[in-house]
């Protein structure tokens, strides 16, 4: 039973970054810009969020600042830094009409290097890890509850509970409404499908595409922090390919929010099944092999992704104008 609770709560905590980042990718791509830089944006978000937590740590320890308020500041800071970083992609691909894939690749190379350099600067020479303070987690104590440590409810609700989880629910609802119920969403989607049509009715395609990329920066930045929280071992200048996994989730989710939600949960579940394989009764154990838990099971989400992308490829429909720079015509 405890395993079940663990699996459910870990699934949710790993689904959160995937969902956030894939939703970010969705905003960018439906405005017409391929955002392959999500991995880099996540790294920047995670780095800056962790640094902010580090800076706020003394205040929290002194009791001058509530821990969850500090988390909120760190999360928003991570999002804001993601926005700033994504401006680089927007500028290259919208203003300069650069190849979006290459621009994104450059940013993916830049982010981890920048993270290492900054970690050195902040933590001192040779330091590669930024630790996460324990107050980042929401515990039963925050609700004035006392639950037995290791009980089902405790494991299900409070073992892996972060502010980012709550925030994700809010952001997801907001994103769905923004995309389908507002003037902004209609205009954004038109720019990813037929920017010339959008321009002909007076929509500023550049502005909408900037909006799409910057929203993806915001969600990607928060997603990066959420990933680092979920991974648990502190920030080490990497998000382990989650940005790319989120892209796959977005494609598998067919660029639609509800499908993306389903896809994120699905992938997170497989990731967690891999991690908990040794404690799940009916899973094969491969006792005679070495490195099973660190290398064999972690392959699972990638292999599943591959298979699913192949199986669903026929139904997949990308925004039509995605990847094509918009040219107003010669002026």
């Amino acid at each position: 039973m405890i395993v079940l609770a663990d699996v459910i709560s870990s699934t949710i905590v790993f689904a959160v970054p995937l969902l956030l980042v894939a939703m970010g990718g969705m905003f960018s791509e439906r405005s017409g810009i391929i955002n392959i830089a999500l991995e880099g944006i996540m790294i920047i978000g995670a780095l800056m969020g962790c640094l902010m937590m580090r800076w706020l740590d003394p205040l929290v320890m002194n009791g001058q600042l509530g821990p969850q308020l500090a988390m909120l500041i760190a999360t928003l800071f991570a999002g804001a830094c993601g926005v700033v970083f994504s401006v680089l992609l927007a500028f290259a691909s919208i203003n300069l009409k650069a190849d979006q894939t290459i621009g994104g690749t450059a940013l993916n190379m830049l982010a981890p290097a920048l993270a290492i350099v900054l970690t050195w600067v902040v933590q001192g020479q040779g330091q590669t890890t930024i630790l996460i303070p324990t107050w980042s987690r929401i515990t039963e104590a925050n609700f004035g509850l006392t639950l037995e440590k290791g009980s089902f409810i405790q494991a299900l609700l409070f073992k892996n509970f972060y502010l980012t989880t709550i925030l994700t629910v809010v952001l997801f609802a907001a994103a769905v409404i923004l995309m389908y119920k507002t003037k902004f969403g209609l205009r954004l989607r038109s720019c990813g499908e037929h920017p010339q049509a959008a321009a002909s009715v007076g929509i500023n395609v550049f502005k909408m595409r900037y909006a799409g990329v910057l929203i993806s920066g915001f969600l990607g930045g928060i997603g990066g922090l959420a990933f680092t929280l979920a991974a648990g071992s502190g920030f080490q200048s990497s998000v382990a390919g989650y940005g790319f996994l989120a892209l796959a989730v977005m494609i598998f989710g067919n660029w639609k929010p509800w499908s993306i939600l389903g896809a994120s949960l699905f992938f997170a579940l497989f990731k967690v099944i891999g991690a908990y394989a040794s404690s799940i009764p009916f899973m094969p154990k491969f006792k005679e092999l070495e490195g099973v838990s660190s290398y064999l099971w972690p392959m699972l989400p990638y292999i599943i992704t591959m298979i699913l992308l192949v199986l669903t490829s026929k139904k997949s429909r990308a925004p039509k104008a995605e990847g094509i720079p918009y040219d107003k015509g010669m002026r």
Partner: protein
């Protein structure tokens, strides 16, 4: 109060290397249909884009009701009640009709869409002007004629008073064209003013009050329609007398070259078939034209014929060989040449040089390669010959990048390449689309020369003038079926139109009659 609602005075618009509009003046009276006439590339679209705020002119002024205005973007144009139906519709295919109409002018409260009131207004407008649409249908599911109604509703929804129609009739049947003319007249009765861009003289004579003519970016004058003739207009447009006929030699029909039997092609978009049970033959020494409105299965049929796509049923025989399942390369080897509909998508590799493009169908032949290595000298020699023989003009000869060539010369290059292969069957799909009169005449001559040389030609065309003048036989396609066969000398545009619109079907009507008799 000025006599004119819109005046475009001495407009000059330059693009790198070309003056698209050179000191052009156009004055539009309230309540008139004003035609803007000119060949492809004469600068009509550029001028209208200036009026619509998509381009800024280098010189000249625009006046609305006598006051100078500045139009920087489509929003400014909209605020001045100027609306435009673009030649290539500006519609988002996966959106509904309603979403497309309100896009850019969305009724909203605090940014949240209020679609109910928009729907009411759209339905009222469509009722009032007889523009029936289903507001909840997706654009990709409705016909081209319906899509044009959506474009017109977009203007009406914005209460536009000055309506620009850019080549609106290209996608319509003759009957639909008549309806559109009627709608235009209704608009002018209400005091709306219309700018009607076209290169079709008949339509101008039928509907316009006045006409401004452009040629190669220059202003040729404005005339009253009641004081002019078709011939005079065409002289103003082209600068010389234009023959409307195509000279053809006597016909010498030969053997059957292409035999198409019961070809059926599934649609990519819906569960219906795009091409249904099509059968016909093309013989040596004749030009057969596949006519019809855009989107009635011609493209899919050509894809299946040339091997670009698979068919689900039927049989195709070329010169006695069954090519139903043959590869594209094998069809080419058996004597099929293909001038594709979209020269940028299929016809050319735009980033290749001209010479690389000229051997696109032949680079593998021994003439051009040895042990897998390309014989560059031979390629150059061959290209130089074609450039000479077919009068292909390009900046740097054989090494010019195809992208930098003009549309007419790109098309000439493709025609040269496909004809010089010496095919038994030439499939030419809309070979004159977007070209000026000189290039059109040239390409028509080449097609006729193939016929006179005893080759079979299958021409797919949307242009009625071309359909009536070039072929020896016309097949009309409607919703994937062949609905009639005609001799161009014995039929009329009106008769063809009834078939193109699906109002008549030669074969089904016969069946019905036969059924009744039996």
């Amino acid at each position: 109060m000025s006599e004119y609602v819109i005046e475009m005075l001495n407009i000059t618009k330059e693009f790198p290397g070309i003056k698209a509009n050179d000191n052009i003046t156009l004055q539009l009276k309230k309540g008139e249909v004003h035609a803007l006439l000119g060949e492809n590339g004469a600068g009509k679209s550029t001028l209208m884009s200036v009026l619509f705020g998509l381009y800024q002119p280098e010189a000249g002024t625009i006046k609305k009701d006598g006051k100078v205005v500045k139009i920087n973007n489509p929003n400014d144009a909209n605020a001045l009640h100027i609306g435009m139906v673009h030649q290539h519709f500006k519609l988002v295919e996966i959106f509904t009709v309603l979403d497309n109409i309100i896009l850019g002018a969305e009724p909203n409260k605090m940014g949240f869409l209020q679609k109910a009131e928009a729907r009411k207004k759209v339905l009222e407008l469509s009722e009032k002007y007889g523009l029936q649409v289903d507001p909840d249908a997706k654009i990709e599911d409705i016909s081209v004629g319906m899509q044009q109604r959506v474009e017109i509703l977009k203007m009406l929804y914005r209460d536009n008073e000055i309506l620009i129609f850019d080549e609106p009739t290209a996608v319509l049947t003759p009957q639909e064209i008549d309806e559109l003319m009627e709608i235009m007249r209704n608009f002018t009765k209400e005091g709306k003013s219309i700018l009607f861009i076209t290169h079709k003289l008949n339509e101008i004579m039928a509907v316009a009050d006045r006409c401004t003519v452009l040629r190669k970016g220059k202003y040729m004058g404005t005339v009253e329609i009641k004081d002019t003739t078709k011939e005079e207009l065409s002289r103003m447009m082209v600068g010389r007398d234009v023959k409307f006929e195509v000279d053809k030699g006597e016909q010498h029909l030969g053997d059957v070259v292409l035999d198409v039997q019961n070809v059926t092609v599934p649609s990519k978009l819906h569960s219906n078939n795009a091409v249904k049970d099509v059968s016909f033959q093309v013989r040596a020494g004749e030009i057969v034209c596949l006519a019809g409105i855009e989107g009635n299965g011609q493209t899919q049929f050509v894809y299946a014929l040339t091997g670009l796509d698979k068919m689900s049923r039927g049989k195709i025989t070329l010169c006695g060989h069954d090519i139903t399942k043959a590869k594209i390369r094998d069809r080419s080897k058996l004597g099929m040449s293909h001038i594709p509909e979209d020269r940028h998508k299929h016809g050319l590799v735009l980033d290749f040089s001209l010479e690389q493009n000229m051997v696109l169908q032949r680079y593998w032949q021994p003439e051009f390669q040895k042990f897998g290595f390309i014989r560059n000298k031979e390629v150059r020699k061959y290209t130089d010959r074609l450039i000479e023989q077919y009068d292909i003009r390009s900046g740097q000869g054989a090494v010019t990048t195809a992208r930098s060539m003009s549309g007419g010369n790109q098309q000439k290059a493709i025609v040269a390449r496909e004809i010089d292969k010496n095919p038994e069957l030439l499939v030419a799909v809309q070979p004159t689309r977007g070209l000026d009169v000189g290039a059109i005449e040239y390409i028509h001559k080449q097609l006729v020369a193939q016929r006179d040389a005893g080759k079979a030609v299958l021409l797919v065309s949307l242009e009625l003038e071309e359909v009536m003048s070039v072929p020896d036989r016309i097949l009309v396609m409607y919703e994937g079926e062949i609905v009639g066969e005609f001799d161009p000398k014995k039929t009329t545009v009106q008769e063809l139109g009834l078939y193109m619109a699906g109002a008549k079907n030669m074969y089904r009507d016969v069946e019905k009659k036969g059924g009744a008799e039996a």
